[in-house]
């Protein structure tokens, strides 16, 4: 076997090992974010607590934090306090909006959950989970940040805790709210 052949085999083997390493030890939460940098889906539905109709139309030109949650989801309870903290931190900004999407839940249970753990921002019903598919949701909790132009700029799978909270507020939300966007583009109505 020549030296060139030996080197080629070694290179191929190392490439395969690198792929295995990435697959085995990579972050399982990292799924290619298909919808990031694309227009957010149009959404419309009743408020969990009041029944009032909520829609993406109402939030045009604002930075929106969309959080998918359910009363049966344990990790949602873990992050709930941080969501309330997040809302408190940015609620005075005129271009900030936060919206919870209650995913595949029973409304009385969702209302009881909000009464127990607290509710400071609106929550929309997605009983059949159709909106969750429009957003490419894998499970709950999942959080999206939509910019003033209606483009999804950030997606996080899992609870908003510790460094995730810091990253979301400092590196995602603050720059988006500081950015002066005047042109408002329509949401994705193809869904």
């Amino acid at each position: 076997m020549t030296r060139t052949t030996q080197i080629t085999i070694l290179v191929v083997l190392f490439a395969l090992l690198a792929l295995f390493y990435q697959g085995l030890w990579g972050d399982p939460r990292h799924i290619p974010p298909v919808l990031v940098d694309t227009p957010a889906p149009v959404f419309k539905g009743p408020n969990v607590e009041s029944g009032e109709l909520l829609s993406s139309e109402r939030y045009k030109g604002k930075v929106i934090v969309v959080n998918f949650w359910a009363s049966w989801c344990q990790e949602c309870k873990v992050e709930h306090e941080n969501l309330l903290r997040l809302y408190d931190e940015f609620k005075d900004h005129p271009e900030f909006v936060m919206l919870g999407i209650n995913y595949q839940d029973e409304i009385p249970k969702a209302r009881a959950y909000l009464q127990r753990y607290g509710s400071s921002f609106p929550h929309m019903q997605d009983v059949k989970g159709a909106l969750a598919i429009d957003f490419g949701v894998y499970g709950v909790p999942e959080t999206f940040v939509i910019d003033k132009q209606g483009i999804i700029r950030h997606k996080w799978i899992g609870p908003i805790v510790d460094n995730v909270y810091t990253n979301l507020t400092k590196n995602v939300l603050t720059p988006l709210l500081q950015r002066a966007d005047t042109q408002v583009r329509p949401y994705d109505s193809t869904t």
Binding site: I31, G129, A130, A132, D134, G139
Partner: protein, 154 residues
């Protein structure tokens, strides 16, 4: 009362036909849903398609497919919709484009590459191995000594 008999008789024949027509329609929709769902991966399962999976997400995806089939969307349109939401990962068969070609071609490349390498190595072994030599002939003294030893051992 007797005037109603013809209407009743007609109804007896028409109702089951109408019912059957509905059943046929349902079956066709079911079939379309199944065909599409079998080509889409359940995103929260291990190598299971949406049709076979019992996960709640797969169930709601089947409902979404059914709704779109009933709206008259084609299988390709529905697959494109799911692809736009979840990317390549949702397709049971990765689309033959870009880096995905590696998945389709790598097994054949490895097979042929490995086969060529093996053939080359075996050929090298054959070439390097010396031809078998005839055993050295015994001289008369050695033959005599062996015969003596054999005779003594008897």
């Amino acid at each position: 009362m007797f005037r109603l008999f013809p209407i009743l008789i007609v109804l007896c024949f028409v109702s089951p036909i109408a019912g059957m027509a509905k059943v046929v329609d349902e079956t066709e929709i079911d079939q379309q849903v199944r065909e599409i769902a079998k080509t889409l991966r359940c995103t929260v399962c291990q190598t299971e398609n949406i049709w076979e999976s019992g996960a709640p997400l797969a169930h709601q995806m089947r409902d979404a497919i059914r709704e779109r089939v009933m709206q008259g969307q084609s299988a390709e349109e529905i697959r494109t919709y799911f692809f736009s939401r979840y990317g390549d990962y949702i397709m049971m068969e990765p689309p033959k484009q870009g880096i995905n070609w590696l998945i389709w071609l790598a097994p054949f490349l490895l097979l042929f590459g490995g086969g060529a390498l093996l053939w080359r190595e075996v050929k090298g072994w054959v070439t390097r191995t010396p031809a078998p030599q005839p055993p050295p002939t015994l001289d008369a003294a050695s033959r005599r000594r062996i015969e003596q030893e054999l005779h003594q051992n008897k």
